[in-house]
């Protein structure tokens, strides 16, 4: 293929961009600030900076162009289909962005007198009401900042409750092998040990094996439902019963809540605690890695242990409870972050929820499940589904369809990039070989799904036809081709340094 080289290294819209530290000229300003008044004597206690920080000076147009060009090297949901399993990459409504920027919501300090922020406290309380209503749970801890943070919050509440009951010896947490890595990591931070539980051939928890693992030292089961194979745990009611009979709690990883909103209530499944990723299910933008929010719903038994602060609604309006002494009836396990939670994310999630309503949210889950089943049905003959349908909101394939082709799951994903699609989640969950996990979400049209199906089928045919070399070269049309991750890890270069001399 003719790879025309240009003089600049640019290729039309694909423009090479240096690091910001390689630009700039001392004395430029990107912001006009007034001249500071002369200060005869500073009050810095002898700690005035001796040397420069080492930042480049640039003008506003340079900065705007730099970041605009960088943005063009990114793929977002706005760009195209993003079937990243377990991540719920759905459309991010722009109304939510607009609401979060209203000065009456954005320009508020969390330590203003509470009388001056009644509307903000009402936002938190309203969102909490929705989350309780949608899950059927009596309480929700609003402050966790992300999914993993919510897991930790839920497990801390469990640990605190067990200690309170005099059952601090319950330290073992049962986690399926298919779980997100955050689950065991969060458990470890609560002083728990992790004990894996196996799955059955149909991708679901082996109830008999679970029962065999339950015992007087088990603190809780951590289960993702629908699970990371995209399957609803059909025996969940029996699982919950067995866990409770053993005196343990049932924590649910709510990463896949998008499959079931308005279809089943978490409380009706016997779950004691579950975090909700607002940046997944309730459509707040993922922003290239956050910020998210992970409010954690709690059962009546765990609710008294919820962390500070929280909002209560009384005759005098809304009150933020910030100290244990102000809530004698409860036993908060502590505080999980600064201030009162991811408020900007709350505004966006609430705007989305109010736009959708109970009817729209139920339809969204239904369409999410419909879209995943549609992909499964249309790809099942060309790829190798790990489990028979129906699936929930995501469908899982293993790499047996690539057997003997010389093409790996990674190669297949990279070839999709050249075709203009973001790849599915690869090599997760760990329970199937060379996993390809696809989550289309409800905001994708049938046309998009059909285009994707045609490409995936075409690539599968190419792999069968022995065109492995083409896959190995992919991606060819991105700003950078395959990157050497081994080199990056072996010789870490984690920051720019000024050239020597």
């Amino acid at each position: 293929m003719a790879e025309a080289n240009t003089l600049s290294g640019n290729r039309g819209l694909m423009v090479e961009e240096p690091l910001i530290f390689e630009m700039g000229s001392p004395g430029r300003f990107g912001i006009d600030l007034p001249e500071p008044p002369p200060l005869d004597l500073d009050r810095l206690g002898g700690c005035r900076r001796a040397g420069p920080v080492g930042l480049p000076d640039l003008s506003e147009p340079q900065v705007v162009r730099h970041y605009t060009r960088l943005s063009q090297k990114n793929y977002g949901i706005d760009t195209g289909f993003y079937p990243l399993g377990s991540c719920t990459m759905k459309h991010n409504p722009r109304l939510s962005e607009k609401m979060a920027r209203l000065p009456g919501l954005a320009d508020l300090h969390p330590l203003q007198p509470q009388a001056t922020v009644q509307g903000a406290l009402e936002v938190i309380d309203s969102l909490a009401d929705w989350l309780k209503g949608l899950t059927g749970m009596p309480a929700v801890a609003m402050t966790p900042a992300a999914g993993a943070h919510g897991e930790w919050c839920g497990l801390m509440a469990i640990r605190a409750c067990l200690e309170d009951r005099g059952q601090g010896h319950r330290r073992r947490v049962l986690v399926p092998e298919s779980a997100h890595g955050t689950n065991p990591a969060s458990a470890a931070l609560c002083g728990f040990t992790v004990d894996p539980i196996p799955a059955k051939a149909d991708g679901r928890v082996d109830l008999a094996a679970l029962k065999a693992k339950l015992g007087p030292d088990v603190a809780c089961l951590m289960l993702t439902n629908p699970n990371t194979c995209g399957l609803f745990e059909t025996e969940i009611l029996d699982i919950a019963q067995a866990v409770h009979e053993a005196g343990a709690f049932f924590y649910c990883d709510g990463a896949n809540f998008n499959a079931i909103v308005g279809r089943v209530r978490v409380a009706d499944l016997g779950i004691d605690a579950m975090h909700i990723n607002l940046h997944k299910t309730f459509s707040t933008p993922h922003g290239g890695g956050g910020p998210g929010a992970g409010p954690t719903v709690l059962s009546a038994e765990l609710a008294p242990f919820a962390p500070l602060p929280f909002v209560v609604h009384g005759p005098q309006g809304f009150t933020l409870v910030e100290h244990a002494a102000d809530t004698p009836e409860s036993k908060p396990f502590g505080r999980v972050k600064g201030f009162h939670g991811q408020f900007g994310v709350f505004v966006r999630a609430l705007a989305y929820i109010m736009s959708m309503g109970a009817d729209g949210l139920r339809q969204a889950s239904t369409d999410a499940v419909l879209n995943a089943n549609y992909l499964l049905a249309r790809l099942k003959d060309d790829l190798s589904p790990s489990f028979a349908g129906p699936c929930m909101h995501e469908c899982l394939f293993d790499d047996s369809f690539l057997k003997d082709s010389g093409v790996t799951t990674l190669d297949f994903a990279k070839a999709l990039i050249d075709e203009g699609f973001h790849p599915m989640t690869m090599y997760f969950p760990l329970v199937v070989h060379g996993a390809l996990l696809m989550e289309p979400t409800e905001t994708e049209s049938r046309e998009t799904l059909d285009q994707f199906v045609a490409v995936v089928r075409g690539l599968a045919a190419k792999a069968r036809d022995g065109q492995a070399e083409e896959f190995k070269q992919a991606p060819r049309f991105t700003p950078r081709r395959r990157l050497d991750e081994t080199l990056a890890a072996r010789t870490p270069v984690l920051r720019w340094k000024p050239p020597a001399g």
Binding site: I20, F21, I31, L33, P36, L39, L44, C47, L55, L58, V63, Y67, G76, I77, T79, H91, M99, P103, G104, L105, L108, H109, A115, T116, G133, A146, G147, E151, G181, P184, A185, G191, T193, R263, V264, R265, D268, G287, G288, G289, G290, P291, E322, G334, G338, G344, M354, G360, R362, Y374, A377, K414, I417, R446, T478, R480, L483, D484, A489, L494
Partner: protein, 449 residues
Amino acid sequence: MRYLPHTESDRRAMLDAIGAPDAESLFVDVPAAARLSQPLDLPRGEGEMAVERAFSRLAMKNLSAGCAPFFIGAGLYRHHVPAAVDQLLLRGEFLTAYTPYQPELSQGTLQVLFEFQTQVAALTGMEVANASMYDGATACAEAVLMAARVTKRPRAILSGGLHPHWRSTTETALRYTGLEADLLAPDPLGIEDLMGRIDSRTACIVVQNPGFFGGIRDLRPLAAACRQAGALLVVAVADPVGLGLMEAPGAMGADIVVAEGQSLGIGLSFGGPGLGLFATREKFVRQMPGRLAGQTVDADGRRGFVLTLSTREQHIRREKATSNICTNSGLCALAFSIHLSLLGESGLARLAQLNHAAAVALEQRLRGVKGVRVLAPSYFNEFAVHLGEDVDAAQVVDTLAARGILAGVPASRFYPDYPELAPVLILAATETNTGADMDALANALAEVL
């Protein structure tokens, strides 16, 4: 519903392709006893206009910071955010991207993170920084956990000048880990003895500079004492703007620097999301929590960026990971980075000077108010004042709020159990404060005291 593309005929055709009679049949795995046959009894969806109206109504119930003389800080500072920051954040390629797991589709985010790490390292005077944590408080907790891993010691000493939320977040994080937190009493005068508490079990000392009550301390003697005892010095910074004027913690001997990055680019947003900054020495990098972007080359030998050293992280190491963090504050890191790029070396220095000058002007203005006593001799853009023996600062703040003045934070909001702190008020001044704001505050204080 405007976010859902399917028509009824799309749904019918898709069900036919699946071979399912109806959508209900796709939920057959959900136990019938728990399945809902109707939408829940909650409000129905609304159009944009109705939702906007509802939020405007909520917004009107608040007194926004820009509508009042405003002197609140205490861990979160009101700075002017240039218009270009928010416009660039709204680029859909940044806003709607996931964590950069596919580097060929994420060179934008990855280069931003690499630049961000470089900026944070430069600002703090450290060798390496990560790609962000949730906020300053959680970064502080992670720093203590890391110090315990590095030193293999069980005890952290937390200064009484550390932000109370950072203290309690850290204490909570340690609660079931077998590690101990030695919490010093609140220290408005900056007279606590930290060095005397160091012993062979000390993993780290955590000290905020400037402190929660505003005072600045020279960290060098403390750093030397830590080094001698084999403990780490963790330095917390609440407003990184100050680093444009003050010596970097790294230059004063810090081993780990954690900070709240909200001051640059992010805005108040009622306290969340924030941006946790985390920087340390290169030799500790494999014990660091959080994501790291690193430089490498692509198949054609061109410079590019990837997430790296992920063998520290939960998706690889599971229960043995350095942290459980996954989603962090990527978009906030971008905002911080853009704002700092617009400022540059000269702009940051000037901004810091303007802040310090505003605080000095406020102090001078308040010295003329009878009964007001400034507590610490040094400060950057925030200081604590004592309003008089029998004065309840919380009541003063409420009285002034009713007059439309947001007059700082009473220390009792954080420390209700310390009656001696009841008259203490913490006041911040930034480049956003005018002389007229300061006059309004001083005049109102003079009237109510």
